[in-house]
Amino acid sequence: MEILQVVGLGLITTILILVVKEQKPIFAFLLATFVGITIFLALAGKIADVIRILENLATQAHVNNLFLETILKIIGIAYIAEFGAQVTRDAGQGSIASKIELAGKVLIMVMAIPIITVIIETIVSILPA
């Protein structure tokens, strides 16, 4: 999906939401969510291209698979959490949005746990007992 299409879709949706919001706020919310998901999915293909290129580069440079896997998982978690949080915030549920964000942060930190353990173990074994 090209940028004009995305912007056009966004503008139309905004106008429609403004129109509908007065009568049926719930439909406005659904519309916003749906369009948001559409744009997100449309962009997923492009993101996939970028990720594929990164993967190619990484395999060429013999980057450890663990590293790349972790990075990609972090990207995914960040995007999805962000998306969910924004949708809920749009619906006026700021507290739920912040919970989603929290979940995202925690999961990202969980990704880091194996790395942190390895580094700490190494440091401990290097240091004289």
């Binding site: 580069l57 990484a58 980057v63 949080a85 990202i108 790395i115 580094i119």
Partner: protein, 211 residues
């Protein structure tokens, strides 16, 4: 070269990780996650930088393996690092070969020396010289010298060869065959003793044959 290659791989890995991290920063949706993602990326890069140390620690300092590390793979089979026994075997083989070459060279040089010197001293021509030497590292010695000589084809003898029958029949008192034989025997012995003296050999070791 392997070390440089391996180091290049390591650097490539780090550089690529940093590039991907930068890229990721741009892709990230908003500030909320940024801190965390940056932290994890930093840890990943740190781990990539430290990966040689991890290997060093996890491989119990096996030096031969350490010397042949390759990229992110733990250890690549190294191109046949030979064992000490193999090296010793090769050494003894090389020594044997060397001895053989020395023996050959000695034989050759002795042969050429004889071919050069005997005609100068005895008016004889060396048809063939054969030196058999035994070159072990403990006791190098000459086993046998086999020499075939004949009278030098001087002007007179050449004439004799052209027309030997006539001369023999005309002058029986000055019989060339018996004469030459006796002189040849003498010369042969002279040559034999000369060679014996030159290389300090026994009479059995030197064999002079006349043609």
């Amino acid at each position: 070269m392997r070390h440089i290659e391996w180091m290049g791989d390591w650097l490539k890995q780090i550089i690529l990780l940093v590039l991907i991290a930068t890229f990721l920063d741009m892709l990230l949706p908003s500030n909320a996650m940024e801190k965390y993602v940056k932290l994890v990326m930093g840890l990943l890069i740190l781990m990539a930088i430290l990966s040689p140390i991890f290997k060093l620690l996890s491989e119990n300092l096996n030096l031969t393996e350490l010397a042949f590390l390759d990229g992110s793979k733990a250890v690549v089979a190294m191109p046949e690092m030979k064992s000490l026994a193999d090296i010793n075997e090769q050494t003894s083989q090389l020594k044997k070969k060397q001895d053989q070459v020395i023996q050959q060279k000695t034989e050759e040089s002795m042969e050429t020396w004889m071919k050069k010197n005997i005609p100068d001293r005895f008016a004889m021509e060396v048809v063939s010289a054969d030196v058999i030497a035994q070159f072990t590292s403990e006791n190098p010695h000459i086993e046998k010298i086999h020499l075939v000589v004949r009278e030098k084809a001087t002007g007179a003898s050449a004439k004799q060869q052209i027309n030997p029958v006539q001369e023999v029949s005309i002058l029986p008192s000055n019989d060339p065959t018996t004469h030459t034989e006796s002189t040849s025997n003498e010369t042969g012995q002279k040559i034999q003793s000369f060679i014996q003296q030159t290389w300090n050999l026994t009479a059995e070791q030197v064999e002079v044959q006349l043609e």
